[in-house]
Assembly symmetry: C2
Homo-oligomer: 152 residues x 2
DNA sequence: CATGAAAATTCACACCA
DNA sequence: TGGTGTGAATTTTCATG
């Protein structure tokens, strides 16, 4: 991946509605080779998808909660169950398997504490979890879907 | 925001390249009124932007680290400094002010532990921080930019 | 809001260097 | 790989009902 590809990706990460002709001009190409590079980046799986980002406050999900989970169960079947339950809860937007003291970390978006309690109850009802600790975010100071291109 | 608007948003959150004519058909409208609704959702700030999502592994940032920060400083000037330093580090993709024992939480994406150390050193060089604890994610099981539309 | 349609823009690709 | 040209698709706007 050369400098031009990175420049193209930087533009698309910021605004994927930018016409190919504009992108081409900004990276110093004409439209066709630029278009071909974009196609190739899609085929190679570098560009996964193009999505609209919505405003959390306008959708009434201004509260973010991080949920740290510990468990005694470590079977494959249990994990698949856990993963499928999480996948079905739209309020859970991120889900990581961690190293260290917490086994899993979830990010949950909800309107308020009461709504979080609903998600929490649903989670513990559907999955056997040993220990859960929730931390509330007061403010989202930075959030970007743009990944650093420095290592590619 | 009625049911049709939500249906439109659900489609655009999933794939913003969907032609307006397709969206219209799926929500039971013709293109013109559907197009007007989309324009209005943009003007109202519900739709903030349209971006390309890239593959972390392909960009060599497959490792996610959560950094919990505590500080003794709580002045406005210090916070602005902290926020500007974080804004300038592209490896930091999320940044929250928390309630509870940790004051701030960062999500950092890097290729490996060594690269994380670089980001870590840069952070503590530029900002005065009392206590930092880093947790490594072994696996990203779920990650979506699609917000739940249930509360809107 | 539906229909129909036109103008402007952008995409997608064949072909050449 | 990059460039030129062109037909197709899409967006965007504007009539009328």
């Amino acid at each position: 991946m050369d400098k031009i590809d990175k420049a193209i990706l930087a533009i698309l990460q910021d605004d994927c509605t930018t016409p190919v002709s504009d992108i081409a001009e900004r990276v110093g190409l004409t439209t066709t080779p630029c278009w071909r590079r974009i196609q190739q980046l899609e085929r190679a799986g570098v560009i996964e998808r193009r999505v609209a980002l919505l405003n959390p406050a306008r959708l009434n999900v201004g509260v973010t909660v991080f949920v740290a989970v510990r468990t005694s169960e470590h079977s494959e079947a249990w994990f698949r169950k856990f993963a499928s339950v999480v996948a079905a809860i739209p309020q859970i937007v991120e889900f990581y398997r961690m190293s260290g003291d917490t086994d899993y970390l979830l990010r949950v978006v909800v309107p308020d504490i009461a709504a979080f309690d609903g998600v929490y109850k649903r989670l513990i009802r559907d999955v056997k979890l040993s220990d859960i600790s929730s931390s509330f975010a007061m403010e989202q100071i930075k959030f970007t879907t743009a990944l650093p291109l420095d290592y590619a």
